[in-house]
């Protein structure tokens, strides 16, 4: 998955391959982070967006290694394929991986596990994240959020200043003009940085296709035991997803379009077993990516509220 680091000289003056506008912008943002902050970290979930971030970071600093660690806020409810993939990637990159566990926050009594049919650990991540930021004194957290995902995210700046409680003040954001990113902050404050803000889901998939980036296998179609609830397809193979007795398990061809905490990530029916087929499927899709994320459906302002509390 990592490109050969030996440089290959192209003899012609062809400008093909110098990246498109979005890639150039993302690389620029990464370099601004390293230049403006002392302790940045890349928030890595093992999903396609954070994997794309890793490739962009490699490009931004090559031939040097990625000059910051990756951090995974592990809900403990991950797809096993994602964790396996994460560990392999980190080993190949030769970068540091920090893992902080939501389970620890639960054990410390800082957060309380949700119960009931829709119990999820997604919200609980915020506390673990904020504690980790404080522990390591990170001043910039790079994340893979995109503005096309959700309407509150569409409002956020590329450099998003958070106070020392991690809170987003959505009504008082810094103007962000031209390419000039202002990351000046006080001690205790933190900036969330979103290099792929302007990418759409299709942009990410097309990039993965073009760059031949490896991704966890759950993104591709496979047979899985599932059950239906509220029109969404849930994995029946994992204990963390609550299933009532009357919810019937059946085997279907599915894939995951987004990979979050298992307890709030639904699958889609699909036979797309290659990246080319996935790109084709996304292009034709009539449902948005977030349509499979139950945590956004809690209320019209679910994401905004989470972000105010420090969610990335």
């Amino acid at each position: 998955m990592i490109k050969d680091t030996k440089s290959q000289t192209t003899t012609n003056a062809s400008l093909e391959g110098l990246g498109n506008a979005l890639e150039n912008e993302a690389i620029y943002i990464f370099r601004e982070v390293v230049a403006q902050f002392e302790k940045p970290v890349l928030l890595f979930s093992g999903g396609k967006d954070s994997i794309t971030l890793v490739r962009l970071a490699q490009k931004a600093f090559w031939p040097a290694k990625i000059p910051f660690p990756l951090m995974h806020i592990d809900t403990g409810h991950n797809f096993p394929e994602t964790i396996e993939f994460r560990d392999k990637l980190v080993k190949e990159l030769g970068v540091e991986l920090i893992v902080r566990n939501v389970q620890d926050s639960i054990d410390q009594g800082k957060v309380v596990e949700e119960t009931g049919k829709y119990a999820s650990r997604n919200m609980l991540q915020t506390t673990t994240l904020l504690d980790a930021i404080e522990e390591f004194k990170f001043d910039a957290c790079i994340g893979g959020a995109r503005r096309d995902e959700e309407k509150a995210r569409a409002k956020e700046r590329i450099f998003s200043v958070r106070d020392d409680f991690g809170q987003w003040d959505e009504k008082n954001q810094r103007p962000e003009l031209f390419d000039m990113l202002n990351g000046t902050i006080e001690i205790g404050q933190n900036v969330r940085v979103f290099p792929i803000s302007n990418w759409t889901e299709l942009d990410v998939w097309s990039y993965i296709q073009k760059e031949q980036i490896e991704i966890p296998s759950i993104y591709f179609a496979h047979k899985r035991n599932i059950f239906l609830r509220d029109g969404l397809i849930w994995s029946a193979e994992d204990d963390v997803v609550f299933r009532a007795e009357d919810e019937v398990v059946e085997e279907r061809w599915v894939r995951f379009r987004t990979v979050g905490d298992m307890s709030c990530t639904a699958a889609v029916l699909s036979k797309a077993d290659s990246i080319d087929k996935v790109v084709e499927e996304i292009r034709d899709s009539k449902i948005s990516e977030r349509g499979a994320r139950i945590d956004d459906k809690r209320s019209e302002a679910a994401m905004e509220k989470r972000k105010q509390q420090g969610y990335f």
């Binding site: 490109k3 400008l15 620029y28 569409a154 409002k155 959505e170 000039m180 000046t184």
Partner: protein, 415 residues
């Protein structure tokens, strides 16, 4: 695929969000779940029609008040092009957010309510797009359905706007006029039968014609250094690369370059984009370059072609758009961020506050308050190397950072 960036401007209730919603809806860019959410929210609120602003006004406060407070970025694409719309607020009090949206856009859509015609806010919106040198302006005369699709109403508004345009200082700006009804979908994506007197393009038709070129100038080479790349590995022991995004011109291997501010000279040895080298790189590329000579270069320095030096001065005069609730007054110090370079500065004088209604009136009350635009003289502690904003957008603009609050307090455009 290329990306065309659009900023919308219009007063409250002129129908900006409806227009954007209609663009998304008619290009089938709204997914079923998002459409379903809009339907549900519209019904809950007791509306008779789909309120597309519920899709773009992403903040609770915006939905409560029914106005747009901050810029939302909205994405859609056609088989030929990708589009990013910066949906910017129309209220005077959110002018700074309007400037934010316009600063990265190649096209502006200014909405006018056909019933109200050109109003003071229209002047302001046009002024900002003039000031920021937004090349293409589409004047969308909206709500034509409420004036019986009258050709006369449209022509009168067009005439008024043309009178405004005559006062513009930006001769290269291209202004187009399109009569639309965002609510009914007339002339947004599909041509309407309701206005047979209009032979021009629809909004989307017009956008599709525009070239999605970069915001970066093809002219003189400007390469602000973001960071120095020193791998310190066995394989790249002596590697010293300068990473940055070319903000003007096209950089070639072998070019004679001068490093600013030291005025040291060298030649481009290699141009890297990731692990490949290129003989040439165009404006807008985030490259990593090496030089023939080992010289001391740090963040904030700029590489230019030796025969294309910019101005190097310790004093600048600029049009400043003030964005802070604390007034800008002479004698105060701010950090000027110009490209990647930061220099402490002192406000010398506020020469005038510019009326944005094209009356040409200027007053001098020696301060700029929030959302005001004026001409300001600034003294810098160290020289900066700049072009006028008209010659190179990136190298002619700067932001003012308040050293106490760290906020971006203003934006400047060097004359």
């Amino acid at each position: 695929m290329n990306v065309l960036k659009i900023a919308t401007a219009g007063s409250v209730d002129d129908g900006k969000s409806t227009l954007i919603g209609r663009l998304l809806y008619d290009t089938k860019s709204l997914t079923e779940d998002k459409l379903e959410a809009i339907k549900k929210s519209s019904e809950q609120r007791g509306y008779d029609y789909l309120d597309f602003s519920l899709a773009t006004d992403g903040l609770v406060a915006e939905r409560e008040q029914g106005i747009t407070i901050d810029v939302a970025h909205i994405y859609f694409s056609t088989p030929t092009k990708s589009y990013i719309i910066a949906d910017t607020p129309g209220h005077v009090e959110y002018t700074r957010n309007m400037v934010t949206g316009a600063s990265t856009s190649q096209v502006a859509i200014i909405l006018i309510d056909a019933r109200k015609g050109v109003i003071e806010q229209t002047y302001r919106h046009f002024f900002i797009n003039n000031l920021l040198r937004v090349k293409n302006v589409i004047v969308a005369v909206n709500k034509m359905d409420l004036v019986d699709y009258s050709e006369e109403v449209f022509n009168n508004i067009k005439k008024d706007f043309e009178a405004l345009n005559a006062k513009s200082t930006y001769a290269e700006q291209i202004v187009s006029y399109i009569p639309v009804s965002a609510l009914k979908g007339d002339n947004i994506v599909d041509k309407t039968d309701a206005m047979s007197w209009y032979n021009g393009d629809t909004i989307l038709g017009h956008l599709e014609e525009l070239e999605a070129q970069d915001l970066y100038d093809a002219g003189k080479v400007r390469f602000p250094v973001q960071t120095v790349i020193r791998p310190k590995t066995d394989e790249f022991h002596d590697f010293r690369g300068y990473a940055g995004k070319i903000s003007g011109g096209s950089l070639k291997v072998g070019d004679a370059v001068t490093v600013l501010p030291s005025l040291t000279q060298s030649k481009i040895k290699e141009i890297f984009f990731f692990d490949k080298t290129y003989a040439e790189a165009p404006a807008g590329s985030s490259v990593n370059i090496t030089l023939e000579d080992d010289i001391n270069i740090t963040r904030g320095d700029m590489l230019v072609k030796t025969d294309e030096l910019p101005k190097i001065e310790k004093q600048v005069t600029a049009t400043v758009c003030w964005m802070d609730s604390k007034n800008l007054v002479p004698g105060t110090k701010y950090i000027v961020q110009h490209n990647t370079n930061r220099v402490l500065s002192k406000i010398d004088s506020i020469n005038s506050v510019i009326a944005t209604d094209y009356t040409g009136e200027q007053e001098n009350n020696n301060k700029l308050s929030l959302n005001e635009i004026g001409e300001v003289s600034i003294k810098l502690s160290k020289p900066i190397y700049f072009d006028s904003y008209n010659d190179n957008k990136s190298n002619g603009a700067f932001i003012l950072i308040d050293a106490q609050t760290n906020t971006t307090a203003g934006a400047g455009f060097i004359s």
